[in-house]
């Protein structure tokens, strides 16, 4: 099988496309699974734009493109910015926080929850805080 492309495309609900590095995009579990050609399909999602095939995996994996019908362009742009920010500071210490405009943060929060971005998971955080 051919080697995976280095870049993938993320498309928002209002048809903005963002071409990002695969390694950055796979920070999100959802995206990683959508793009993984070896992934077995247990598709449930009314929200995922994917077509069940019996052979190869999601159509996203073949075209290296992910459509997000529930995430708008502005939010998706911030998400991409975060992915690169995370990758850049992966091992850093005392990294300065990325700037998040307050108008966007609620939608961004929901998008990030959907995309399951980076560890720790929400439950883990809740437990830690309650501890």
């Amino acid at each position: 099988m051919a080697t995976l492309s280095q870049f993938v495309t993320l498309v928002s609900s209002d048809d903005f496309s963002f071409i990002v590095l695969r390694s950055a995009a796979c920070l999100s579990g959802v995206i990683r699974r959508m793009l993984d050609p070896a992934c077995i399909i247990f598709s449930h999602a009314s929200l995922l734009y994917s077509v069940l095939t019996l052979t190869d995996g999601f159509v996203e994996a073949r075209t290296n493109t992910c459509h997000f019908e529930n995430i708008s362009g502005m939010v998706l742009e911030k998400v991409c910015e975060y992915m690169y920010y995370n990758e850049k500071h992966r091992d850093g210490k005392d990294v300065p926080d990325m700037d998040i405009p307050p108008e966007l943060c609620l939608e961004l929060l929901m998008a990030s929850d959907y995309l399951d971005s980076a560890c720790p998971s929400l439950l883990h955080m809740a437990l830690l805080t309650a501890a």
Binding site: V79, Y82, M98, I100, E107, L122, T129
Partner: protein, 659 residues
């Protein structure tokens, strides 16, 4: 007659330039005279650096002229001339400064001095450039006029004298100039009210840009560390968004369609930052929610509670902390409205009367499945608990902590609950051993969680009862006790058919005797070496949470055997608390890191023998008091062969008071 005639001298029209100069006390004739004088002197001093004829040359051409001439002359003369011109300049400067001081009288800034100094031609034009009086352009300072500057100055209005009228730059009102008027953004003066506004703005800016008090960043780091937020890498996007929302909590109007766990997380943050107020409360109330979790309801008033129940009638799980203002009416309304309520957790609801509690139990009846009440001073009585035991037969989870009026009869009543699985008690009144044992005998076999805190007089028979009756315990806590002996702990964990514990907490089980801090050596009290060894042998494999803080009778041998021996592996351990076990030293800590691959947090307050430790990157180490002035070592993870690289360590922390 001649005098009259002289006095009648007619003056012709004067140019704008003359007006300007006159207004600033600069005399054109004087300038001309000085200039000519200087030229004469220069010529008399030989072919010194030539002074280009009077005209205002740009600094560039001035320089060029000087350079050419410098080339022509031999060094000595040049030096001499330079020195002379320097002297001249300095003398001239002094004169100029004096003039300036004399003429100053309330006039502002560099414009006058610029004008004057240009008039005198000594220093290089701009006042602000304290630079080098000994400029390379030897003596050509007269010619270093920047024509642009000069013309700009000419057209700029000079500051009017105090007493004159001026128009405000911002509001265009006419006002009287005083020495105290400040300048506006474009250079003109502003009237007093506008001046005040400007000053306020500047002050606000300065305040926001001011440096934070010194220790703040360090405290934030510590606080994050205690929360378990590790310091490496970037924060997660969710975390950053949540922080932003909490920061702008005033502006958030609605949370929209957020999934329930996120809403709960947000309510936690809001509670932590104490912004959960009547205004922000509606954010967390949605008709479709099944649980309402508000950890800090201190600001909510009686009507707000009713609002909660009105908006969310289908709530099944209710968690309210700091419910100081919840009254009987609110509870009445809750009983009326929320028919699906199953899990109730109310902390500090002290305004609810005992009768109301009894009514609560009666109305809820079999619906109630879990109940957690803390900090009840005056209300809940033993009788109420008896009512509860009678009416609410489906209770699975029960927690009574710091309820001051409960005592022995309550324990007896609790013992009769048939479905009890999780029990947690911390009572202030004395409870006899017999009641506790009878409780365990009746409920022991089904109990999954047992937590008995601060039963100071409970003795070995309690543990014996646990050993004989409890078969399904996962979480066991017996803490703050100074009667139970080590032997009892050992026999508890030896040959106990119960499966391995997941959560073990025996903090503060030790002898309290100020005269004998090591306790009786033959028969140690509290969790000691033998007990600890037995505990790890029994539960080591499944244990996730271990708390042996203040068990100071555990000696080094037992700790080393448990953690430092080569085959010691505890695959599930995530949290260990060994605070105030004074025998813990560096080797033990290093052993812990090696033996517990899943470890996330190690709390070690008051372990003074722990020195410079290498902390692996995934672990948060809290409380090591080695005062290295906050030296942090950054670093990585365990290598494949288990060699740790220096991780994050903070020293010099405040030691927690305890034990």
């Amino acid at each position: 007659m001649s005098g009259r005639r002289n006095g009648n001298r007619i003056r012709g029209p004067q140019s704008a330039l003359t007006d300007f100069l006159a207004a600033n006390n600069i005399s054109a004739a004087q300038i001309r005279d000085d200039h000519e004088r200087r030229q004469r002197e220069a010529r008399n001093n030989g072919e010194g650096p030539s002074i280009a004829a009077g005209a205002a040359a740009t600094p560039a051409t001035g320089e060029d002229g000087a350079d050419e001439d410098v080339v022509e002359i031999d060094e000595e003369e040049e030096e001499r001339v330079r020195e002379d011109s320097k002297k001249r300049k300095r003398k001239g400067e002094v004169e100029a400064l004096e003039k300036i001081k004399k003429a100053k009288a309330g006039k502002g800034k560099g414009k006058e001095e610029k004008g004057k100094s240009k008039g005198k031609g000594k220093t290089k034009g701009k006042k602000g450039k304290k630079g080098d009086p000994d400029d390379d352009d030897d003596g050509d300072s007269d010619d270093d006029f920047d024509p642009d500057d000069l013309s700009r100055d000419m057209y700029k209005k000079s500051r009017p004298l105090p007493g004159q009228f001026e128009h405000c730059e911002i509001c265009s009102k006419r006002f009287t100039v005083t020495p105290y008027n400040i300048e506006g953004p474009d250079g003109g003066l502003v009237c007093t009210p506008c001046g005040k506004e400007l000053k306020k703005d500047v002050k606000a800016e300065k305040k926001s840009a001011a440096k934070q008090p010194q220790g703040r960043k360090r405290r934030k780091l510590e606080s994050d560390r205690l929360d378990g937020l590790v310091n490496r890498g970037a924060k997660s996007l969710q975390q950053m968004c949540i922080e932003t929302v909490a920061k702008h909590h005033d502006d958030v109007e609605e949370l929209g369609d957020m999934p329930a766990p996120l809403v709960e997380r947000l309510s936690q943050i809001f509670s932590k930052q104490r912004v959960l107020k009547p205004k922000t409360l509606p954010l967390f109330l949605r008709p479709d929610l099944q649980s309402v979790v508000l950890h800090d309801a201190a600001y909510l008033e009686a009507d707000d509670y009713k609002q909660i129940f009105a908006v969310v009638p289908n709530v099944q799980k209710l968690v309210l902390g700091n419910t100081c203002q919840m009254k009987d009416e609110a509870m009445e309304y809750m009983l009326e409205r929320c028919s699906k309520l199953k899990h109730v957790q109310l902390y500090a609801s002290n305004l609810v009367s005992t009768e109301m509690w009894e009514k609560f139990f009666t109305v809820m009846g079999g619906r109630l499945e879990s109940l957690a009440l803390k900090w009840l001073d005056n209300a809940l009585e033993d009788e109420s608990v008896e009512v509860m035991a009678r009416e609410c037969r489906n209770i699975r989870r029960l927690k009574f902590k710091l309820c001051r009026r409960l005592g022995e009869r309550a324990v007896a009543a609790i013992a009769t609950l048939p479905k009890l699985q999780h029990l947690s008690l911390q009572l202030s009144r004395d409870v006899s051993n017999e009641s506790l044992i009878s409780l365990i005998e009746q409920r022991g076999p089904k109990l999954l969680t047992l937590s008995l805190e601060k039963f100071l007089d409970a003795d070995d028979s309690l543990l014996a009862a646990i050993h004989s009756h409890c078969r399904s315990l996962q979480k066991l806590r017996v803490s703050e006790n100074d009667t139970i002996t080590d032997a009892a702990f050992t026999s508890l964990f030896t040959a106990w058919p119960n499966a391995s514990l997941v959560f073990a907490d025996f903090n503060a089980t030790r002898d309290i005797d100020n005269n004998n801090s090591d306790g009786p050596l033959e028969d140690p009290i509290g969790l000691g070496s033998a007990g600890f060894t037995a505990l790890m042998a029994h539960s080591g494999q499944a244990l996730k949470h271990l708390d042996i803080s203040s068990c100071r009778h555990i000696d080094l041998v037992a700790l080393s055997e448990a953690f430092c021996s080569s085959d010691a592996v505890y695959p599930a351990l995530e949290y260990i608390n060994v605070s105030f076990c004074s025998r813990v030293d560096t080797e033990v800590v290093e052993g812990i890191f090696k033996a517990c691959p899943a470890l996330k947090k190690l709390v070690a307050f008051g372990c003074f023998d722990v020195g410079a430790v290498r902390v692996p990157g995934s672990v948060v180490l809290i409380g090591v008091p080695r005062a290295r002035e906050g030296i942090e070592q950054f670093g990585g993870y365990f290598d494949g062969d288990g060699v740790g690289i220096q991780g994050i360590e903070i020293g010099g922390m405040a030691v927690e008071v305890g034990a």
